[in-house]
Amino acid sequence: MNDLELAVELLRDTPTHENRTGEQLRSWAQTALEYGDELADTDMPVDIQVVEREGGVRKGELLLAEHQRGTVIVYTDALRRTEEVARERGWAVTRESLRRAAVAHEVAHHQLDVRELNRRLGHTARLGPFRLRGHVAGADEIAAHRFAHRRSGLAVSPLLLTAALAGRN
């Protein structure tokens, strides 16, 4: 599966999109990937603190990194687990490139403008007579994955890695 197909699957698994048409999801996925590309090409100053910690391997969840209030926490045990999964599949993924991707993913969330992304996606939410520009849940995640791929030099797409970790491919 290529990134576009994986991004469509990500959207399809996101609550609020279960019944949208494949065509609609594909269009949104494409726009989100392009926004991630554009963001990766933009040279913006990054003022972010990175800390490493154990504790990302949890019951029911693998947490590689999280970002809040300008700090990125990278979970080293989750990176090790991801590296193992990648090795089993024959993907040449190093711990360092994974770490760079994890940090870049959170930097993307720090930098991306959700309103601008929604404007480009052009979704209109409707409720009876009311019509407003709508939010597309999950699109920012796709842009962040693409940004991380471009910035980290990871051998495989973070979207593919995520799908593999979730057992979807």
């Binding site: 996101t14 609550p15 609020t16 590689l64 969330h109 009876g128 709508g134 849940a137 995640e141 979730a166």
Partner: protein, 423 residues
């Protein structure tokens, strides 16, 4: 004899805590034990074990059971017609750029769901789409679960089956229960909003996280028409605004949901299917209410009343200030299926407080409703807390730690209200 009954109650709590016996079975066993210790005769027309406790006790909460069944039917319809899911999806679509707006919107939907039905079905109605949606816009998982739970609990004072339960269990007129509940609602509502704002003010949290075994979101059922989204308001508007009795209010909600979402030719099938599903949803609380009815009948037996009243009277604070201090300090006893859980042994304690004339009826309603506000959100053994926490990917105990400071304030507020108004 009183001490023996208290020891038996402690054993009952232990059996429930350790999950050796399901709550309903433990309560029914307690009812039998209390009746035996009280010296009740096995047979007889009244105040006997077979007739007074088992036969009459089992149907004491019959009206509550019907209300719970109708609430479950309406909750099932909210799910099957897509009304619940549509409400949450619209909130995400309209407010997804601002996590606080999404969280407040899901909180509001949870209030509506909580005013219709309780426990895990209410949490699922709001949470199946709401919890992952909140996480997706940057709420921490524990806060996402807590937002749904705080919303359901804030809706609980407006939940008609809970009014019926309080009325049946304590013998209070529904009008008095309604008065207490309406006054409790603003406290739960304001503190719930405070919880959401405190959680969202911590800043959006984004993560590269992979859910390994989260249950799949349910299949989307299509958007319900916008005018159908008013369904959760129908019963509460009728009951509050027009003092329509509880059962017809809930039935009106069922009819409104069906008429606004279902084609004429499909009405019968959908109505019947959802009703049968409602029976499934209502089965656990109804089993509990049968047992609670028996327990209430047992603690009202003359022997039990004579034995327990002096003890409970001696340890119950009489001044309003001590009433608030003591019962607020005892809040943890409504958690973990403790003795002040109103949907458990707490119902028996409330029965003793009422039949012994220790506090006015409305004060006991206020006290138990206050504990219910804490139990409904923070108890890590209650089905809604377990479901919401696990669906968000956190342990129920973490959810308890996140919400308890807020629910304790709601409980305290309810007790202050009770002391000021009714003592």
């Amino acid at each position: 004899m009183g001490i023996a009954i208290l020891i038996l109650m402690a054993v009952g709590v232990l059996l429930m805590l350790t999950r050796i016996l399901p709550t309903a079975f433990a309560l029914a066993g307690l009812a039998l034990g209390i009746a035996l210790i009280s010296g009740a005769p096995l047979t007889g027309a009244k105040d006997s074990i077979l007739t007074g406790v088992l036969q009459n006790g089992a149907v004491t909460l019959a009206a509550t059971m019907i209300a719970v069944l109708l609430g479950s039917w309406l909750g099932t319809l909210l799910d099957q017609t897509g009304i619940g899911g549509t409400l949450v999806r619209k909130i995400v679509e309209f407010g997804g750029e601002r996590p606080a707006v999404v969280a407040l919107g899901v909180f509001a939907v949870s209030i509506l769901c909580g005013s219709i039905t309780g426990s895990a079905p209410a949490a699922m109605l709001a949470g199946v789409v709401g919890i992952p949606a909140m996480i997706a816009v940057g709420l921490r998982p524990v806060a996402a679960a807590g937002t749904v739970l705080m919303g359901i609990s804030a809706g609980s004072p407006l939940e008609l089956p809970v009014w019926q339960f309080m009325s049946d269990a304590l013998g209070a007129p529904v009008s008095e229960v309604r008065t207490v509940m309406i006054r409790l609602f603003p406290i739960a509502f304001v503190v719930g909003i405070a919880y959401v704002l405190v959680q969202t003010r911590r800043g959006a949290r984004h993560a590269w996280a992979v859910q390994l075994d989260r249950p799949k979101a349910r299949v989307r059922r299509g958007d319900a028409p916008w005018y159908a989204l008013a369904t959760p308001l129908v019963p509460i508007v009728l009951a509050l605004g027009f003092t329509v009795p509880i059962v017809p209010s809930l039935l009106a909600g069922v009819v409104y949901a069906l008429v606004t979402t279902t084609r004429w030719g499909d009405l019968n099938e959908r109505a019947l299917r959802s009703l049968y599903k409602g029976f499934e949803v209502a089965a656990p609380p109804i089993a509990l209410f049968v047992a609670i009815g028996m327990l209430l009948a047992a603690v009202k037996l003359p022997g039990a009343k004579t034995a327990l009243t002096p003890i409970v009277a001696a340890i119950s604070p009489s001044s309003p200030i001590f009433f608030v201090i003591v019962f607020a300090a005892l809040v943890p006893l409504c958690l973990f299926r403790g003795p002040l859980n109103v949907f458990g042994l707490g119902a028996g304690v409330a029965g003793v407080l009422v039949t012994g004339g220790i506090y006015p009826m409305t004060a006991v309603v206020g006290l138990m409703a206050s504990y219910n506000q804490v139990f409904g959100v923070s108890d890590p053994t209650s089905t809604q807390t377990v479901w919401a926490a696990q669906y968000a990917g956190v342990r129920p105990e973490r959810s308890m730690l996140s919400t308890l400071p807020f629910t304790w304030v709601v409980g305290l507020g309810g007790m202050v209200l009770t002391a000021v108004l009714y003592l």
